[in-house]
């Protein structure tokens, strides 16, 4: 009994330190490391979606401001247990598509997109998984110098 108690007391500080730290979780760490050395973190989106009924509509949407004369990198990371692959489309304030991570002609799904923004404004970002499948993922928005 005393040995067990002593063991727990020794372990306590280690667990307390671990619980008090909020280092990036493994998924975020993996995605951060894949943005590239020239990228500087700005923002992230964490997406978790179940099986969808429509293949055309982006189910996670948010608004963000993008500034002129800035090169942004949108990195898309899909969790291993996802059925679909994380995809992204961005629309401008007139609802015109300015970028998509899917090339509809070839079916290629890109894991990152560099966007050279020349029009400051409010944009809508839309995320989903390919063919409306279920999945989890992280998208990181970075600046590229």
């Amino acid at each position: 009994m005393k040995k067990l108690l002593l063991g727990l007391l020794i372990l306590l500080p280690a667990f307390t330190v671990a619980a008090g730290q909020a280092a990036p979780d493994p998924m975020m760490s993996r995605c951060l490391s894949s943005t590239g050395p020239a990228a500087k973190y700005l923002k992230d989106y964490r997406i978790q979606l179940g099986q969808g009924t429509s293949h055309n509509d982006f189910r996670y949407k948010a608004k963000m401001s993008l500034w002129k004369n800035t090169k942004y990198r949108f990195t898309l990371c899909t969790a291993d247990n996802s059925k679909g692959k994380l995809i992204l489309t961005i629309w401008d304030d007139t609802n015109k598509i300015v970028l998509s991570s899917v090339d509809n002609d070839t079916g290629t799904v890109y894991s990152y997109i560099d966007f050279i923004c020349n029009k400051s404004g409010i944009y809508q970002v839309g995320f989903d998984f390919t063919e409306g499948q279920s999945g989890s993922g992280v998208s990181i928005v970075s600046m590229i110098q």
Binding site: Q48, G50, L99
Partner: protein
């Protein structure tokens, strides 16, 4: 018997997550069975507010300074702010925003080891506002000393501010989060307006002009609290003074046609052909520079 009870209590203490930080649990990505997950959407009435509550904006401005080749200058920082001497939630929240912008400036310039004193002040202010649990001082300190991990440091710093902002709003203290945003914006605007005096540049000039949109949103965010007390009344007056200098600044757009796409290194590069253009005279810019400096220095002096 007593020993068993003690061990049970000890096990509960060890296994319980950090209870103070409830939002951390929701932030972490839980990779559950994907079929059981529900659809999530950030679009809605809060979406416009989310744009304003973007603590990465000062980083984008600081990054522009680097692109311009502007050297780092300690003189722009709010070094006179003494976190230990600040009292009252208004001053603490406003200063938390101001120092957040300073931290972003230091981090972008890789002055991470020199930012430790600043991080310590931020922690004191956060604790004063009872949101210190969201600022992971030890990890940020460790990453600051290890300058090779800049991206993780930027992530943790911005994430801490976002968590504080979210918690304050959920805790019916949204007025404090609006103060943080105001402080961060004024400080970043101060950097930009000071730097353009020394390093005139078209890109920075445009960025200053484009702040007209952000300022309008900021004023809307602070507006509900303008009559709360004399401090808020003064802040609303200051923002109105800056806004007045922006009154005749115009932003126009030109349609450039289809974006240019290039595939490289497994990724896609897209160059936007549409452009935005800022119409701002030298006199208007001079007025914005002067008023921003006056406001920022009053806020620092009051603290």
């Amino acid at each position: 018997m007593k020993g068993r009870v003690f061990i049970t209590a000890l096990c509960v203490m060890i296994l319980l997550p950090d209870c103070r930080n409830s939002s951390r649990k929701t932030e972490n990505l839980v990779l559950a069975d994907a079929d059981s997950l529900v659809s999530v959407s950030a679009a809605g009435s809060d979406a416009d507010e989310e744009i304003l509550r973007n603590f990465s904006s000062p980083l984008e401005t600081a990054n522009l300074f680097q692109v311009m080749g502007v050297p780092f200058t300690q003189a722009y920082l709010a070094t006179s702010l003494n976190a230990s001497a600040l009292s009252g939630s208004f001053n603490q929240a406003l200063s938390l925003g101001i120092l957040g912008a300073d931290l972003g400036y230091l981090n972008i310039y890789g002055k991470t080891s020199t930012s430790l004193e600043l991080v310590s002040s931020i922690k004191k202010l956060a604790e004063g506002l009872r949101v210190g649990q969201f600022f992971d001082f030890e990890t940020i300190k460790r990453l600051s000393l290890n300058s090779s991990n800049l991206d993780s440091l930027l992530y943790l710093s911005i994430d801490s501010y976002n968590k504080i902002d979210r918690y304050l709003r959920e805790d019916n203290r949204g007025y404090l989060s609006s103060l943080m945003i105001a402080g961060a914006w004024i400080e970043a605007q101060y950097f930009a307006t000071q730097i353009i005096k020394q390093y005139p540049n078209g890109l920075l000039r445009d960025r200053i002009g484009e702040q007209k949109f952000f300022l309008e949103g900021l004023i809307k965010s602070v507006q509900p609290y303008c009559e709360m007390n004399d401090q808020f009344r003064a802040l609303c007056g200051y923002l109105a003074d800056i806004s007045e200098k922006y009154r005749d600044v115009r932003i126009s757009y030109t349609d450039g046609g289809t974006p240019v796409k290039t595939v490289k290194d497994g990724g896609l590069e897209i160059t936007q052909t549409e452009t935005s253009r800022v119409e701002m005279t030298d006199e208007q810019l001079a007025g914005i520079i002067d008023m921003t400096g006056i406001v920022r220095n009053k806020l620092i002096a009051n603290n």
